[in-house]
């Protein structure tokens, strides 16, 4: 009973390989792009049907912030849903 409920609620973010994703609110995007000196369409892409993108409800055109664990601690990465 509880087990099957748990299974249903399984989130891809529970998996060890999946880092935290979040949608960047629109007003912040401009600031980030300026800081990184890139245009929006030059950001790495992410598919709208990506399981992680779907789960946070990211739509086409959204910028997603990803908190990665790297050798130098936490690193922030951005992807454009396209």
């Amino acid at each position: 009973m509880s087990k099957s409920e748990q299974k249903k609620k399984f989130s891809v973010f529970d998996h060890v390989l999946v880092p935290k994703h979040e949608i960047v609110p629109d007003p912040e995007v401009g600031k980030i792009l300026e800081e990184l000196k890139v245009s929006r369409d030059k950001l790495p892409k992410m598919l709208p049907n990506d399981p992680a993108a779907k789960e946070i409800g990211a739509k086409k055109g959204d910028v997603v912030r990803i908190y990665r664990k790297g050798p130098g601690g936490e690193a922030v990465y951005y992807r454009l849903v396209a």
Binding site: V12, H15, V18, K45, A52, G70
Partner: protein
């Protein structure tokens, strides 16, 4: 702390891609001379250069797919539980359990169940008969005597052979694609996990008792499909690093991360090469410089493509300063 971080980060305009390529390429030349497989390992996975090529080519199916399945926290140190789940997921067909002998004169199939093997899987002869009936529909007549199943057929040789092949392939148990389940004890943590050949994440979702958050497969495409591009990138880094480490060739993880990031930059895992990273470059000259020069130049001239000469390769070809390192800085007029 930010100062240290700033000091140790790479300079702007440094050709990190070339450094990464060389840092992986040089140890790669050492690799070819050594043996490809390790002796005495339970599960034979392609290692060394063949595996590295497989990863970088982003093949849909690795030559030897492999999954590591961990158990839920409560019974992670329970070997019996591991055994139980292993036998539950291992794919077993009638052909694995029985010997099927065709007798074309008497028009019958003699199916002998290996009772010892079958009972170890928790399968009875009656189960085999039941599954056979399901697969056959109304065809033939089944008689059972202990572990011997006789199937009378009223058809010609060709059809009989077809039926016998069909019966052999009938699934008795387990998950399609998963074979050779072995229980391995993790020496560090003392917990047991199941290593199984093949890869099938979607079906494993339905199995109780396994820790889905740690399920792992060496099939990068499968990870991409179920957990997304970021997980696929992490898996790629992990796999490439593992290949290099097993060969005793330490490569800094940052080089590998760069390659994995480049492969995943367009939202899907793309191979490095003609059909992926290099073939998808924007600049005509950069593509022509890599492979299939004439094809790219001809197509570009037909379509009237333009090349803004932003990249490195293009500028080398026409003999301009490359926008890299000291070539990256430009003069700005003071107003």
């Amino acid at each position: 702390m930010p100062k240290i971080k700033q000091d140790s980060s790479i300079d702007a305009g440094e050709a990190v891609g070339i450094i990464a390529a060389q840092s992986l390429g040089e140890p790669g030349t050492q690799m070819t001379m050594r043996t490809f497989h390790y002796a005495g390992v339970a599960e034979q996975v392609p290692l060394g250069l063949p595996r590295l090529i497989e990863l970088v080519d982003a093949r849909r199916e690795p030559a030897k797919a492999l999954m590591d399945i961990y158990l839920e926290h409560e019974h992670r140190k329970d070997a019996k539980m591991a055994q139980k789940i292993a036998s539950e997921i291992e794919y077993v067909t009638i052909g694995d359990l029985c010997s099927v002998v065709e007798n074309f004169q008497k028009k019958e199939l003699r199916i002998t169940v290996d009772t010892e093997y079958a009972s170890s899987k928790g399968i009875k002869t009656a189960d085999v008969v039941k599954k056979m009936r399901e697969a056959l529909g109304k065809e033939g007549k089944i008689m059972t005597k202990k572990n011997l199943i006789m199937l009378r057929l009223n058809s010609n040789c060709q059809k009989m052979r077809k039926t016998s092949m069909k019966i052999r392939a009938v699934q008795m148990k387990g998950i399609r694609g998963l074979a050779r389940a072995t229980i391995i004890k993790d020496e560090k943590t003392g917990e047991y996990f199941i290593r199984v050949g093949g890869s099938n994440i979607s079906e494993l979702k339905k199995v109780d008792g396994i820790d889905f958050s740690r399920i792992y497969t060496n099939n990068i495409r499968d990870i991409e499909k179920h957990f997304g591009i970021e997980a696929a990138r992490n898996a790629l880094v992990k796999e490439i690093k593992q290949v290099m480490d097993l060969q005793g060739l330490p490569v800094d993880i940052r080089h590998i991360m760069l390659i994995a990031d480049a492969m995943c930059a367009r939202g899907t895992v793309e191979p490095v090469g003609r059909h992926g990273l290099s073939g998808g470059k924007f600049s005509v000259l950069a593509r022509a410089a890599f492979e299939e020069t004439i094809k790219h130049l001809v197509n570009a001239s037909i379509r009237g493509e333009e090349d803004p000469l932003n990249g490195v390769t293009e500028n080398i070809i026409i003999g301009q300063t490359v926008k890299l390192g000291t070539g990256k800085v430009r003069l700005a007029m003071k107003e």
